[in-house]
Amino acid sequence: MKKNLVSIEKLSFDYGKESLHKDINMEFARGKVSAIMGGSGCGKTTILKLIGGQLVPKSGKVVVDDAVVHEQDRSGIFNLRRKMGMLFQHGALFTDLSVFENVAFPMREHTNLPESIIKDLVLLKLNAVGLRGAHKKMPAELSGGMARRVALARAIALDPDIIMYDEPFAGLDPISMAVICDLIRTLNDALGATSIIVTHDVAETFSFADYVYFLADGVVAAEGSPKELLASKLPFVKQFIHSEKDGPVPFHTDAPSYKSDLGL
C-alpha cells in the first residue's frame, strides 16, 4: 500500500487564457487531514475538481489510488468517485428531497441494500453529525451549519476513502464552525479516511490539520505541518497567518497611477 492516496504531479491548469496553476506538486498522505490554503480565487477549489475528474489538467497528472484521473474513461472516473466523498461549499443538498433521502441517495444509487438496512445506515450517518432528529426535515428548513452537516453525512454515506471539503467553514457561526472542525477530525480518524480541506480560515485549520499547503500565484508557496508554518519566516506565509492587510499580496490591484485616473 502506497503511503500517499492522492498525489498531484507537475500539474498545470489554465482557466481560459489565464494560467491558474504552474507545475504544482502535492502529496496527500493516507489517513491524514491535509489542507490547501490560499487567498480567494487562487484556484484551491479547482484542485478538488481536478482530483474529482470534473476538470482536465493542461499538463501533469493527478493520481488517485494508483490511477491517473484524467486518463480514465467515464466509467473509470465514476469508479474512482465512488471512493470519494465531497462536501460542497454550500452543502449542495438536493432541495426536492428530505434530509433522510439526501443521505440515502448515494446508497440507493450504488447499492441494492434492502430498505431496512438503508434506514439504519442513514440514521447512523445522521447520528454521527448529530442530526438524527432532523431526518424528516426538508433542506430549506435547515440552518447553514445544519445543511452542511447533512451534506457531510451524505458525503460519508458510502464510507469513502477520500473526503474532500470545499470551504467547510465559510459563513458559519463560531459554534457550527467548532462542530465542523471536530467532525472533520473525528470522521477522518473513525473512517480511516484521507481528508483534503480547501479553506482560508487559518485558526480553525491549524488547530487540527496534519499538513498544510499554501497556494499563491499558481504555485505552492509553502508547505509543512501547522507548527512548521507558524514558525515560517516566508513573508507571504507571515502575512496570511497573521492576516496583515499589506505585504507580498498587495492591498491594491494593478492599476494606472492614482493621479492619471483622477485626471490630475
Partner: protein
C-alpha cells in the same frame, strides 16, 4: 465607415458562430439523453413524477383555455358560415381548426409557458447551487437522473395534452353552436365525422404535437443547463425558454403544415 462595416460583419459572424455552437451543444445533449435513457428508465418513478409535474398539473390551464378557444371558434365560425347558409358545417370547422392547428400549437405555447419555464428555472437553480456537480461527484449522471426523466415526461405529456385540448375545444364549440345557438346536433356531429380524416387530420395533428413537445422540452432543458449560475442568468434563461420555444413552435408549425396539408 469601413470600420463600421467590418464591425457589422464581425458581429454577424460571431453571433452566428455562437448560435452554431449552441446548436451543437444541444444536439450533443440530445444524444446523451438517448444514451442515458435506459439508465433512467430503471428508475421509472422519476419519469412518472415528472409526467405528473409537466402533464397532470398542466391540465387545468389546458382544459380551461381549450374550452374558451372552442367557444370562440363556435361563435366566430357560426357568424361567418351563417352568411353562406351553411351553419351546419360549424362542427367540421371547429374540429379541423383544433385538430390540425390550434390543438397542437396553443398547447405547445401554454406548455412552454407553464412547464418549460419551470424546467429551465429548476435545472438552472440546481446548477447554480452545485446540485448537479454534487451528483456528478457521487458518480451519478445528472443526465440519467435529472435530464432524461424530464425529457421523456415532456415527450409523453405534450401529445396527450394536445389531444385533450382538441377534445375539450370541440366540446366548447358544441356548447356554443348546439346548446346556445341551436345548430342541429345531428348535423354538427355527422358532418364532423364525415369530414375529419383520421390519417390526414388526426395523425398529422398528433405528429405536430410530438414535434412541438420535442422542441419545447429540449429548449427548456438546454437553456436550464446553459444558464450562467447567477440569479440574472437563470432569469434570462427562463425568458429565453419562452421566447425561443414560442418562435420555434410557430416556425415549425408553418414548415410542418406546408408539408402535410399542401
Amino acid at each position: 465607415m469601413v470600420n463600421k462595416l467590418l464591425n457589422f460583419f464581425e458581429q454577424l459572424g460571431s453571433g452566428f458562430r455562437a448560435r452554431l455552437i449552441k446548436l451543437g451543444a444541444g444536439t450533443r445533449l440530445f444524444f446523451l439523453i438517448i444514451i442515458y435513457s435506459a439508465d433512467s428508465f430503471k428508475r421509472i418513478h422519476l419519469t412518472i413524477k415528472e409526467i405528473y409535474f409537466t402533464g397532470v398539473l398542466s391540465l387545468v390551464i389546458i382544459v380551461v383555455s381549450a374550452f374558451f378557444v372552442g367557444m370562440v371558434l363556435g361563435l366566430q365560425g357560426y357568424y361567418t358560415l351563417e352568411k353562406y347558409g351553411s351553419s351546419e358545417a360549424i362542427g367540421v370547422l371547429v374540429a379541423l381548426a383544433l385538430v390540425r392547428e390550434l390543438g397542437p400549437v396553443v398547447t405547445a405555447l401554454l406548455f412552454a409557458g407553464r412547464a418549460g419555464t419551470a424546467i429551465t428555472a429548476e435545472i438552472g437553480l440546481m446548477k447554480a447551487t452545485e446540485q448537479l456537480s454534487a451528483m456528478e461527484m457521487m458518480a451519478v449522471s445528472p443526465v440519467a437522473r435529472i435530464i432524461a426523466p424530464r425529457f421523456w415526461a415532456g415527450m409523453i405529456s405534450m401529445p396527450i395534452l394536445a389531444t385533450i385540448f382538441s377534445m375539450v375545444g370541440i366540446l366548447g364549440g358544441y356548447v356554443i353552436a348546439v346548446i346556445i345557438i341551436g345548430v342541429d346536433e345531428g348535423a354538427f356531429w355527422s358532418q364532423m365525422q364525415a369530414n375529419v380524416d383520421f390519417h390526414n387530420d388526426i395523425v398529422d395533428g398528433a405528429v405536430k404535437s410530438i414535434v412541438f413537445g420535442f422542441a419545447c422540452t429540449m429548449i427548456a432543458l438546454f437553456e436550464g443547463l446553459d444558464a450562467p449560475p447567477t440569479a440574472e442568468g437563470v432569469s434570462r434563461a427562463t425568458t429565453r425558454t419562452v421566447v425561443i420555444s414560442s418562435l420555434a413552435v410557430l416556425g415549425l408549425d408553418f414548415v410542418l403544415t406546408s408539408f402535410m396539408f399542401v
